[in-house]
């Protein structure tokens, strides 16, 4: 079974996203910020296939986490989608250049998440 991590400081958003992922067959884990996500990533037993990542979070924000992730060859195969309220073209470009594969602007719907996962061949 594929495994996905949802990183967002809002419990509600985490719940909505994990629910969607579980319904399409993912096993899911959750983290409340970038630092937590990084620590979890280091000690997961089975590899991660997908990360859904918020931008604005305490401790370590999404972009910092993303840069750290993409600098580490061990995690090259993980697909990453930003799910965030940052909606400026410059920010989107920044995230894509840092190695995000897709980008969803909040507010989102379930269809939007699924369409984007399909684009990433992650559905």
């Amino acid at each position: 079974m594929s495994q996905a991590m949802v990183v967002d400081d809002s419990r509600t958003i985490r719940r909505i996203l994990t629910r969607t992922l579980q319904d399409i067959g993912y096993h899911t884990v959750e983290a409340g910020n970038g630092l937590e996500a990084w620590e979890m990533l280091e000690c997961l037993e089975s590899p991660l296939d997908l990360i859904l990542l918020d931008w604005n979070m305490p401790e370590m924000n999404g972009l910092q986490f993303l840069r750290k992730l993409r600098a580490d060859r061990r995690f090259d195969d993980i697909k990453l989608m930003m799910v965030t309220t940052e909606t400026q073209a410059e920010q989107m470009l920044e995230a894509l250049e840092a190695g995000a594969n897709e980008y969803v602007m909040k507010p989102f719907t379930r269809d939007i998440i699924e369409d984007k996962l399909r684009l990433m061949n992650a559905l």
Partner: protein, 288 residues
């Protein structure tokens, strides 16, 4: 309508009620002007789509609307009702697989076949333009020059075509199905919306066309997208449209239908193929 309506009904309930005779009148009206078959018992659909018009023109209820439609000189109102009853939902790169097939398999072949002239592509129920523009962006990404291709988008509704020409999409619309790298590359942020850049816009021409009318004047195509519109028609209409489409397909041309549509048991002169997970059709006569 069998819904029990309490005595102290408010204006909403009242304006929604419609007699059986008027329901049939609206079915007939929508069919005549668009070919779209409105099934029995779609009262909720009538209500949600037509009550805003009823209110806007200051009528009492749906029955009054029907009365007005029967009068002479009501063409604008008639068009509004038909437009309101058609489903315009669409999204960028809808279903993904047709676009994968185009990019990975069909494009080289089609470009070779159209070597000495522009490649002609038709989005036959273009709605607000996402399908036609998805094709345009994909071709640009594949290194096709705008001068090598003509993309035509047609639709029954002038209203959606006006939006297609404008090419300004809401955040929700660009979120759906559009790869983020395409968004940052081909769109410019405009307030809360996103405007498609002129380079892509200029690759597509939009024109009003009822698929049930003569489509020959459009000329011949190398690739036809006729997706998510045949489902609304009855068998005879589907058959007539598919036959016409065959008539404007080059011998090597391909046709894409929507994921819930097929030529099977409608028009047996199409050959069905699966390419990159996408179902596509070629005309058998041309192949023979």
């Amino acid at each position: 309508m069998t819904k029990a309506v309490p005595r102290t009904q408010d204006a909403v309930d009242k304006s929604a009620s419609i007699t059986q005779e008027n329901y049939r009148f609206l079915q007939q009206h929508v069919y005549q002007h668009s070919g779209i078959v409105l099934d029995e018992g779609k009262h909720y659909l009538l209500e949600s789509r037509l009550i805003p018009i009823v209110r806007d023109v200051g009528l009492a209820d749906l029955n009054a609307l029907c009365h007005a439609l029967r009068g002479v000189g009501q063409a604008p109102l008639r068009n509004r009702v038909v437009e309101a009853m058609t489903t315009n939902e669409t999204l960028f790169f809808r279903d993904k697989s047709p676009f994968d097939a185009l990019r990975l398999k069909l494009l080289p072949e089609l470009l070779a076949a159209a070597r000495h002239r522009p490649l002609r592509i038709w989005s036959a129920a273009a709605s607000t333009g996402q399908e036609a523009y998805s094709i345009a962006m994909l071709l640009l990404e594949q290194g096709v020059q705008p001068s090598q291709v003509e993309i035509l988008g047609t639709d029954l509704s002038e209203e959606v075509l006006a939006r297609a020409r404008e090419a300004v999409y809401s955040q929700l619309e660009v979120n759906r199905g559009l790869p983020a790298p395409y968004l940052v590359k081909h769109f410019t942020r405009k307030g809360m919306s996103w405007e498609l850049q002129e380079r892509v816009r200029k690759m597509v021409r939009f024109q009003q066309l009822d698929l049930r009318s003569g489509i020959r004047p459009l000329g011949m195509f190398d690739l036809v997208f006729c997706r998510n519109v045949l489902i609304y028609f009855d068998l005879a209409t589907k058959r007539a449209i598919l036959e016409q489409i065959r008539g404007v397909m080059q011998p090597h041309a391909y046709l894409f239908l929507g994921s819930a549509e097929t030529t099977l048991n409608v028009d047996e002169r199409f050959l069905r193929k699966v390419v990159e997970g996408a179902v596509l059709y070629q005309s058998m006569e041309a192949r023979a």
